[in-house]
Symmetry: C2
Subunit: 198 residues, 2 copies
């Protein structure tokens, strides 16, 4: 659409390239940005560039952090022999929010997906195996319950078990508050298989 401003068109194009932002929202956002005070626009732009320039991977667990080692990995009160493997930093944040996990993490930055050409070498699996050569009691696989997540969990499990490490998988089943009649058959049969004695 011709908006009669080359600058706005360029901005709309850039914004529409971001995930979850369609052409209509990109346009709305662009007009909003144009209407914002100049110092606020500059601040947002600078925060973006600053974050990109300064955020790096933790050299132990590969989560995104401002320092060489993230606050979790450098916390002596966490159990460093208990590693939870997650697909990305958002999943780490989700588990941290529960406050129930006292171990450390390992962020894979993806999952094995032959369909879109992501192999084991494209995510941080080698790094996990290296970490496990040190003193580790248990590795909890908390990849997603999707085809990719399951495949990745299987693959890692096959690598680590021969090393004598206890490998576990987070439970799969009916979500808390979930209504049985709306839950798919695979989840229901998983919940049955994973039943525990009360």
């Amino acid at each position: 659409m011709e908006l009669y401003s080359g600058y706005i068109n360029k901005l709309v194009d850039e914004l529409a390239a971001l995930p979850g932002i369609g052409n209509k929202s990109a346009q709305r956002l662009a007009f909003h940005l144009i209407g914002m005070p100049e110092d606020k626009v500059n601040r947002l732009a600078n925060v973006m560039m600053e974050a990109k320039a300064n955020v790096r991977y933790c050299s132990k667990c590969y989560t995104l952090t401002d320092n060489d080692i993230c606050p979790i990995c450098s916390n002596p009160n966490r159990n460093h022999k208990l590693i939870m493997v997650v697909e990305n930093s958002r999943d780490l944040a989700a588990y941290e929010k529960t406050g129930k996990f006292e171990g450390v993490y390992h962020v894979l930055h993806g999952a094995i997906s032959p369909m879109i050409g992501i192999g084991p070498g494209d995510i941080k699996i080698k790094e996990l195996v290296e970490r496990c050569a040190q003193d580790v009691d248990e590795v909890i696989l908390a990849t997603n319950s999707s085809l990719e997540g399951e495949t990745t969990a299987m693959y890692i499990s096959k690598l680590l078990k021969p090393m004598g490490i206890k490998v576990t998988r987070i439970a799969s089943g009916v979500p808390v508050g979930g209504d049985l009649e709306y839950i798919d058959e695979v989840t229901l049969s998983r919940a049955l298989d994973g039943r525990i004695e009360l």
Copy 2:
């Protein structure tokens, strides 16, 4: 949520302040930006600042443009005696897309809304009246069909009619392809009032 990176937290906060972007999408966007190549992030940031610094109001119709006078106002093939009044530049773009309007525009940048404290002096009404002091045949009021849009149209109409200018309002009725049973009563009665002979 503690994401273990001050830079990411700051970025999420800035993004979440934009319209239509909730906390979850802000987080997703922030992680996406961090994952993008640095030159692309810098380009997006620069396009934002550049657009804000360079886009201005057309000195005739007040739409957003890169130049002192927008391409529509500087086009000699448009009818400069026919002015369509719209609430914002997005509405202008919507009408331009139809390709059916050969006149020029006047962008109010808002609508009268006593509820949120926007009075006639807060939008470009004075500027419209000044334009109409010159040679104008007709002013088409194309503000939204909302309470605010109707109020604004009424207000402008009362100012311009005593100046001897023909003032019209775009038709209100059943949208093309609309199914009568799903259309509200006010729209239906408007459509009835505005019926035309075939």
